[in-house]
């Protein structure tokens, strides 16, 4: 009866309750959706780290990671890899060579990490081969061609391997992509021209486009106008095992595009056979052993086991290699909870205010209820239930709206294209797919109920202090 009365009381002053419900709905939606976006971004970044960059566990010589000196190698790699492959929970293992060097073209040179890989084995661990930019190559598909290299999109830009041009075909493609006619006619001025790099292309475009047009269509034009110099040549230089300067001429066998500009601009993949020869490294040695597990949750246990099995080597898991990511992943839940608690704390003031008004307006009625025998516990419960209903109604509405929007955007994604460079500099994709677990909704529900309860305490105590005889005299 108290519950039913409390629910009816919520709707006694419909407008006022709707205002509170609406504010809670908006607050919860804003909070849950923001958390969904943050969580989606963190999850995507984590997938990126595990699938393309680090995998679950890496083994190196204990001194290798400190200075990346190629002499700090792992011996008897084949035996170690075989041993690890036989362990339960291990999905795949591969070994890599790792050299610090320079990538050079006729116009540019830049520092890079040259990673010698067995492409087929790499595919079992990393998904980087799937990130191949169409039309740039085929990821080491021809075993006869040892000189091929798989490089990042940003490195290709830095080395001027990517160029930009406007021609009839590109103009037609832009027309199909519904680029407005006035812009099309403006950029047609550059038909037949080629630009060596992104900066010079953008500079040219700015002469015919407004800032607004550029922010709206610049990305599209840039994507369509880029062309790749197929099998473009570049050199990689580095020192070999004997500390002599060496290197080789390589051709671009593919360009990968991932949302991490730092990785893209620095990691060059070549076949381990050619790199081994160039650095004069013996067979059955490597710089890194990379391990992928079936379940990421087994990482800690497997790290411990591998440290026992190979005490002379350094065994690090992804959390130790990327501590910033580990912190983000481990504390995300706490951070989201804290974020929601802050939003609810702000909403609580509105609920307290409303409930104080309720007690003030119903002084006489509360006096009557006490007079006819409703004890303090029940009066408190009625006001508390009313407050919980008020907050929960808005909360549930907010969560339903958030769930619907997150469902829609989790498949379509949200494009933060205008902030792409900033996002990618931090390793995050500018296309974010919001995502949130059902457990978070449960936590939010509990937080809303808690907010309702806490918001009712002061108004309910005020109600309990009412003297029934005085309250009944109130007009």
């Amino acid at each position: 009866m108290i519950t039913k009365t409390a629910w009816k009381n919520v709707w006694r002053n419909r407008i006022r309750s709707l205002v509170v419900v609406a504010s809670v709905t908006v607050g919860i939606f804003a909070g849950v959706f923001a958390v969904g976006v943050m969580n989606g971004a963190v999850d995507q970044r984590l997938d990126e780290v595990l699938d393309n960059e680090v995998a679950h566990i890496q083994i190196t010589h204990p001194d290798f990671r400190t200075n990346n000196d190629l002499t700090f190698k792992i011996d008897d790699v084949n035996e170690i890899v075989e041993h690890i492959s036989g362990l339960e929970n291990v999905d795949a293992v591969c070994d890599r060579l790792f050299v610090v060097g320079m990538a050079n073209t006729a116009r540019k040179s830049t520092g890079v990490h040259i990673i010698g890989i067995n492409p087929e084995k790499e595919k079992e661990i990393f998904g980087l081969y799937k990130e191949l930019e169409p039309g740039t190559g085929d990821y080491f598909s021809d075993p006869e061609r040892e000189e091929l290299a798989y490089i990042g999109f940003d490195l290709a830009k830095n080395l001027n391997i990517i160029r930009y041009q406007i021609n009839d075909e590109i103009i037609e493609e832009l027309r199909s992509a519904e680029l407005p006619d006035d812009i099309l006619s403006e950029i047609s001025e550059f038909n037949g021209e080629r630009f060596e790099n992104e900066m010079s292309f953008k500079k040219a475009m700015r002469t015919v486009m407004t800032v607004k047009q550029e922010s709206e269509y610049g990305r599209l034009i840039l994507d369509k106008a880029q062309t790749f110099r197929e099998r473009a040549k570049f050199t990689l230089t580095f020192v070999n095992r004997s500390n002599h300067q060496t290197g080789g001429v390589f051709r671009v066998g593919g360009i990968y595009n991932i949302p991490n500009s730092m990785f893209e601009s620095s990691q060059v993949f070549v076949r381990d056979t050619i790199l081994r020869r160039l650095i004069e490294f013996p067979e059955n040695t490597a710089h890194q052993i990379i391990i992928r597990l079936y379940d990421v949750d087994d990482t800690r246990e497997m790290t411990r086991k591998l440290r026992e099995d190979f005490p002379e080597l350094e065994v690090l898991n992804w959390k130790q290699i990327q501590p910033d990511m580990a912190m983000m992943s481990d504390f995300a839940g706490i951070m989201y909870g804290f974020f929601m608690a802050l939003i609810l704390a702000a909403l609580a003031f509105g609920i307290v205010n409303t409930m104080l008004m309720v007690v003030l307006e119903r002084t006489k009625e509360l006096g009557m209820l006490t007079a006819i025998g409703m004890n303090k516990k029940k009066v408190f419960r009625m006001i508390m239930t009313e407050s919980v209903f008020l907050s929960l109604t808005g909360g549930v509405a907010g969560m339903i709206v958030s769930w619907i929007i997150i469902r829609i955007t989790s498949t379509r994604g949200i494009n933060f294209g205008s902030m792409e460079e900033g996002f990618e500099a931090m390793g995050f994709s500018s296309q974010i797919y919001p995502d949130i677990g059902i457990d978070f909704f449960m936590i939010v529900t509990l937080l809303i109920i808690l907010t309702g309860i806490l918001s009712s305490v002061y108004p309910a105590l005020k109600a309990l202090k009412l003297d029934p005889a005085d309250a009944l005299r109130t007009e």
Partner: protein
């Protein structure tokens, strides 16, 4: 059987610099099934006396015994429980819960006492019939006239079969027809259920119906007449 006894009851209010004797040395006894009116001019102490009998207010001095229980010895939670089980209230301005229907208002107190549903429904219907509102069972107070609301309030007061009903100026807001109708209903229920009714009033129509009239002046009982 004696259900209520007031022994030398005083109520003094301390306002700024002045002591006001709202009730001054009142001693009264009420038998089961009485239909009594407390009359007197405004400020004579009627409502204060009724509040003290109902445990809403405590006497400054003296003793109020209900069924041999001294109210002043009860803790505040026990007094609330005592009121719920022994006293029905009817207020001048009806004081129904506006969001509940007539039925829900009447069964509210039975719910507080955790009566079983069937028993609750039967009692509610019985009372609604007794006050002539069985066809308004699902009406909210705002859909009822003043007289009808007060009849629902009387039904609510009697719902849990209290020892006595305290009614503070129950007819003050009613027209003549509604007043007569209400008084007839209360008198009928008083006789049928043998529940003691005590009114505070200055309505001559109530006084006429009452079988005992207690007159207060300046907080003192100046007359106590029982009609045959």
């Amino acid at each position: 059987m004696k259900v209520l006894e007031l022994n030398n009851v005083h109520k003094v209010y301390n306002t700024t610099h002045v002591e006001v004797h709202a009730v001054n040395d009142v001693s009264l006894e009420f038998e089961e099934g009485e239909f009594a009116a407390i009359v007197g001019p405004s400020g004579s102490g009627k409502t204060t006396l009724l509040n003290m009998i109902g445990g809403l207010d405590m006497p400054t001095d003296g003793q109020i015994m209900v069924n041999s229980t001294d109210l002043s010895t009860l803790r505040s939670s026990a007094i609330i429980d005592f009121r719920m089980r022994n006293i029905g209230f009817v207020f001048q301005s009806y004081n129904l819960i506006p969001v509940l229907t007539a039925k829900e208002n009447i069964e509210f107190i039975m719910n507080l006492q955790k009566w079983p549903r069937k028993k609750r429904d039967d009692r509610t219907l019985e009372l609604l019939k007794a006050v002539g509102l069985e066809d308004r069972i699902h009406s909210r107070p705002s859909q009822l006239s003043g007289g009808q609301q007060q009849r629902v309030a009387v039904a609510r007061a009697l719902a849990s079969k209290p020892r006595f009903v305290l009614a503070d100026e129950p007819t003050a807001n009613l027209d003549t027809k509604s007043t007569e109708n209400l008084l007839d209903i209360m008198e009928k229920l008083n006789r049928e259920e043998n529940i003691t009714f005590i009114f505070s009033t200055h309505d001559a129509r109530v006084v006429k119906k009452a079988r005992r009239v207690i007159t207060l002046e300046d907080g003192k009982v100046v007359s106590d007449e029982k009609k045959e």
